[in-house]
């Protein structure tokens, strides 16, 4: 319980005390009616007054919080003591010889036992147990390199890794990249052994000159090509994918990388996160050995400074979800569509991994394609189907003369979209068409 919250027991106690005053009032009235010669008005108004005061006390109680409540209830107990005293005087003056009814005695006994038990628990030393921080091991000292690399792993794969499923974290890397030897989905380089390669790569002739020379600025990301060390190389690949394109994985004669700039929207990793990913990349091939990691550990100031810039650092854990209240640009960016698709009308959506989305014109053709086996009969249905079940129809990549690879597009959009969001998205995409100059 927080100190500013209410303590239910004390509130209950005040209510019960008020009930007690009512019982006393009824008892007094009963006696007055039974016996002649008692000043009913006087005693009735006195005890009625007690009821009233008690009621006011009870009302007042609701506005108090814990510590105040406890002090307050003592004052009310004082009122009750006064009531008992007056009650005694009443009996004495009216010469009534009556014992308190068993109900009162039993209730008193119960109250005392109950409060004693509560008191006993409060007499013991108190300790509150807070939940561990979300998403990972508890770090009571400083962060270790191991934790840091683990943070990188979470950025790549997400906190919940489930065997046999392609888990995708905030970085969305596994959409294209693979990380195990022999595993290749053919779209982007397999990152197994990237740590070793990074050192030799920066020496390569081809690296130094293609597609741009070291020291020149890459127009897409605005970053000057600078890598001298392995660490630099990896960071550069993340921040400026086109600074060097691995043979066979680029567009336009391997000069332009299809990879998005990772420090910009929609992925927007912070420098600390980028370093974490690098730490993971450098250490992933040698589990438990962090000697090859060259990035520095973040200090408290780093993260504090970063927290000011980008408040939500924990987003890595959160599943992506759009509710449909966002505007369409934000929605598409959140979902990460621009990574792969070129979508007219969406700024920065120039991805080339997947088909260009000119669905107003394309969709009818697709439905008419003899290869098409889906259930859609119109554009909207087709778009909806393509989002929810991307494998239903795989589009031919006209430029390359082969099918776009199946299975790259995430299958789980149905978990990321609310109904409104889906409708909104379908509406928008169904109306995309090639810009006028092309059409």
């Amino acid at each position: 319980m927080l100190p500013e919250q209410h303590d239910i027991l004390w509130t209950f106690m005040t209510i019960m005390l008020t009930v007690f005053t009512v019982i006393a009032f009824i008892n007094v009235i009963k006696h007055c009616r039974e016996q002649e010669g008692i000043n009913t008005k006087l005693w009735g108004s006195i005890f009625g007054g007690f009821v009233f005061i008690s009621f006011l006390c009870t009302r007042h109680m609701f506005t108090l919080v814990q510590g105040e409540q406890l002090i307050f209830i003592w004052t009310q107990v004082g009122v009750i003591f006064l009531l008992l005293l007056v009650w005694g005087i009443f009996f004495k003056s009216a010469q009534i010889e009556d014992q308190s009814p068993p109900l009162i005695r039993a209730a008193f006994f119960w109250l005392v036992v109950g409060l004693l038990l509560a008191g006993y628990t409060n007499w013991l030393p108190q300790q509150r147990s807070d939940p561990p921080p979300k998403g990972g091991a508890q770090i009571s000292g400083d962060i270790t390199m191991e934790d840091y690399a683990e943070m990188g792993r979470v950025i790549v794969f997400g906190a919940k890794q489930v065997a046999g499923q392609k888990a995708i974290g905030k970085g969305q890397c596994p959409l294209c990249h693979t990380f195990d030897p022999g595993d290749n989905i053919g779209r982007c380089p397999n990152l197994f052994g990237v740590e070793e390669r990074s050192h030799t790569r920066v020496q390569e002739e081809r690296y130094l000159n293609e597609p741009i020379k070291v020291g020149e600025t890459d127009p897409a990301s605005g970053i000057k090509k600078y890598a001298k060390t392995g660490e630099d190389y990896i960071r550069e690949s993340l921040e400026c994918p086109s600074c060097y394109v691995v043979k066979g994985y680029g567009k336009a004669g391997d000069t332009k990388s299809p990879m998005p700039v990772i420090v910009k929207p929609p992925i927007s990793l912070s420098p600390i996160e980028v370093n974490a990913v690098i730490a993971w990349l450098q250490s992933k091939d040698t589990p438990g050995d962090f000697s090859k990691v060259t990035v520095p550990l973040p200090s408290a100031e780093d993260s504090a400074a970063q927290a000011e810039e980008a408040p939500a650092e924990e987003e890595g854990d959160k599943p992506i979800f759009v509710t449909g209240t966002e505007d369409i640009q934000a929605m598409i960016n959140t979902l990460g569509c621009p990574l792969c698709h070129t979508i007219p009308g969406v700024e920065g959506a120039v991805g080339e991994l997947g088909p260009v989305l000119h669905e107003k014109t394309n969709a009818p053709n697709r439905i008419a394609d003899p290869r098409y086996e889906g259930k859609a009969t119109n554009t909207k249905e087709y778009v909806r189907e393509s989002i929810l079940d991307p494998g239903a129809y795989v589009v031919m990549n006209e430029a390359e003369g082969e099918l776009f690879p199946d299975g790259v597009m995430p299958q789980n959009f149905k978990n990321m979209l609310s109904v409104e969001a889906l409708d909104k998205l379908v509406d928008f995409i169904s109306n995309t068409e090639a810009p006028p100059e092309e059409g």
Binding site: E97, P125, D142, S299, A300
Partner: protein, 576 residues
């Protein structure tokens, strides 16, 4: 009164027994051959040795077991047959009984534990006999070249009956005249050359033992660390024995010839009088740590000099020994804080030079400031400005964020809960360890560092204006005194602790010995203790007791009335 006498008589009983115990030594005063090795026990002794002792004393008994390097004092090297605690003459082999006693009781102040609580009598005898065979340079069986003379120490000439502590004798009440006489003996025999002017072992920094390892003289004000003092640390006999027999293998000679037995007892009385009486924890043979440092409420200003009578504290624990004289103001007390090497994080310190601090405190609401006086014994200070001596008080940085018993990590805090450290670095002026005893003491050049700790490797100096000051300090005859002062509240609420009165605040202490090359996390450290700024005695103490008594009288009246009424109702049959 009668009863008191009776219990005194009962106290005498063990003393008489003690006398009876030493009787045999006078009987066997003549030279005799050493106690030979009992061959039949060797196998058993070996078993015990290789299970229990080998870890420190080594396979060959050379005092070079796995732990030896990290121990100060090093484990005994048996090969030469030198043993410290004996009743035989200097240089002679010990009696078997001496060795047995050592093994059973352990050696306080070193790593040797009391084995009598683990091993049976038979096992102890067996292992002692086995150890005898590890002596290579001499032989316990050599009856021709070896002889032992068992010394006689006489009997303690006083009855000591002052100060009562359950289960522990304090040996107070020796006549002052004898103590003064002992002091004369002390000066005459130049004990101060090694043990220092006030007996804190600060006489000679260059001593080495027979094997060439550095060694220091005993600090007489910490008699619980005397070897051979276990279970009875305040007994002057321990001192008499050591004076009489010397400590083989160390620079401590015997004074059997120079000092008569009577004078040895007087010297012992003097040495003994220096040691403050505290409750000794039976298990560890160290004084019990005070876990609460109460800061005394002081009206007006607190004295800013360590010599001011306001900072006088009785040597002995006032709980057990009544104060000998009136102190100005209210009696303050110094609290014993045990210190240990920081052997947890980073560069570990296995051989700390200081194993306790004495802390006393006062606070003044008028000044809105609190004072902590930290004093400790350190035989020699550093002269190296890179390795300054230092002592620090550590506080939780954000007291208000702690819930319940929660505290920051006790070694420089942790990433979530910072600590606020007041560290005083100092070098003594015109000081050299080899100087003769200086009764005036040395002034200290103190610089105060205020540090925020987020872990031992994440320490940052505060950039705000300094708030902690060391108002006075001195190093005198092996004792450092540092008086810290800080206002209760500061402007920097972020990293400075704001000290409330009347509530328990965790606090811990750190100490660095420059001569021991201690720096950063290589230091001595205490655990968290509490401090509290005691409130003044409230005014309500004058009116509340009568009020409560009056209320109670009212209750009594009510009780009488109720009982009479109920009984009447029973009598009239109105109640059942």
């Amino acid at each position: 009164m009668k009863i008191n006498k009776k219990s005194i008589g009962l106290l005498m009983l063990p003393l008489i027994l003690l006398g009876v115990f030493f009787l045999p030594s006078t009987v066997f005063a003549a030279p005799q051959p050493p106690d030979g090795v009992k061959k039949d026990l060797l196998e058993k002794g070996k078993q015990v040795y290789f299970r229990r002792c080998v870890w420190c004393h080594g396979v060959e008994g050379g005092g070079d077991g796995p732990s030896a390097e990290r121990l100060f004092t090093r484990p005994r090297n048996f090969i030469q047959g030198t043993f410290k605690i004996r009743r035989t003459d200097s240089g002679e082999l010990p009696l078997e009984a001496d060795l047995i006693r050592t093994v059973k009781n352990g050696l306080p102040g070193s790593a040797m534990p009391p084995w009598g609580e683990v091993l049976s009598e038979d096992e102890v005898i067996a292992v002692v006999n086995f150890v005898k065979t590890l002596v290579q340079d001499r032989s316990f069986d050599d009856t021709e070249d070896e002889e032992v003379n068992v010394q006689e120490f006489g009997q303690m000439p006083w009855s000591v009956d002052q100060g009562q502590i359950p289960g522990q004798k304090l040996y107070l009440g020796i006549p002052q005249a004898d103590i003064d006489a002992g002091r004369e003996v002390f000066i005459k025999n130049k004990c101060f050359e090694c043990h220092g002017g006030e007996g804190r072992g600060d006489g000679n920094p260059t001593m080495k033992d027979d094997w060439g390892f550095p060694i220091v003289a005993a600090d007489w004000q910490q008699c619980w660390n005397f070897r051979g003092s276990r279970r009875d640390p305040y007994n002057p006999f321990n001192i008499v024995r050591t004076i009489s027999t010397g400590l083989n293998g160390t620079p401590m000679p015997n004074f059997k010839e120079q000092i008569t037995v009577e004078d040895r007892w007087k010297l012992a009385a003097f040495v003994n009088s220096l040691c403050p009486r505290k409750k000794i924890d039976k298990l560890t043979n160290k004084p019990v740590t005070d876990f609460l440092i109460s800061s005394l409420y002081t009206e007006g200003e607190v004295a800013r000099s360590v010599d001011d009578p306001m900072w006088d504290t009785p040597d002995h624990d006032p709980n057990w020994v009544t104060k000998p004289k009136d102190y100005p103001g209210t009696l303050n007390r110094k609290h014993y804080i045990a210190m240990g090497g920081q052997i947890t994080r980073g560069e570990r310190n296995f051989k700390p030079k200081v194993d306790n601090l004495w802390v006393s405190s006062r606070w003044s609401p008028d000044e809105k400031a609190v004072y902590y006086m930290v004093e400790y014994h350190n035989r020699f200070l550093s002269q190296d400005s890179e390795y300054k001596d230092a002592v620090a008080i550590q506080w939780p940085g954000k007291l208000q964020d702690l819930y319940g018993a929660e505290k920051p990590y006790f070694i420089f805090g942790d990433s979530k809960k910072p600590v606020d450290i007041w560290k005083a670095n100092f070098l003594a002026q015109d000081y050299s360890p080899t100087n003769p005893p200086n009764e005036k003491g040395y002034k200290l050049d103190v610089s105060v560092e205020e540090i925020v700790g987020h872990g031992y490797d994440a320490l940052t100096a505060k950039e705000t204006a300094p708030t902690v000051e060391v108002v006075d300090s001195i190093f005198k005859q092996g004792r450092v005194k540092i008086l810290f002062r800080r206002s209760l509240e500061t402007e920097n609420k972020e990293t400075d602790i704001q000290i409330p009165s009347e509530s328990f605040i965790p606090v811990s202490f750190m100490q660095w010995s420059g001569r021991n090359k201690e720096k950063n996390e290589t230091m001595a450290i205490s655990t968290w203790v509490y401090t509290i700024l005691e409130p003044p005695i409230p005014d309500s103490i004058y009116y509340m007791p009568p009020i409560m008594a009056l209320i109670f009288i009212g209750l009594e009246g009510w009780l009488v009335w109720m009982t009479k009424r109920t009984r009447k109702m029973y009598a009239e049959g109105k109640a059942k």
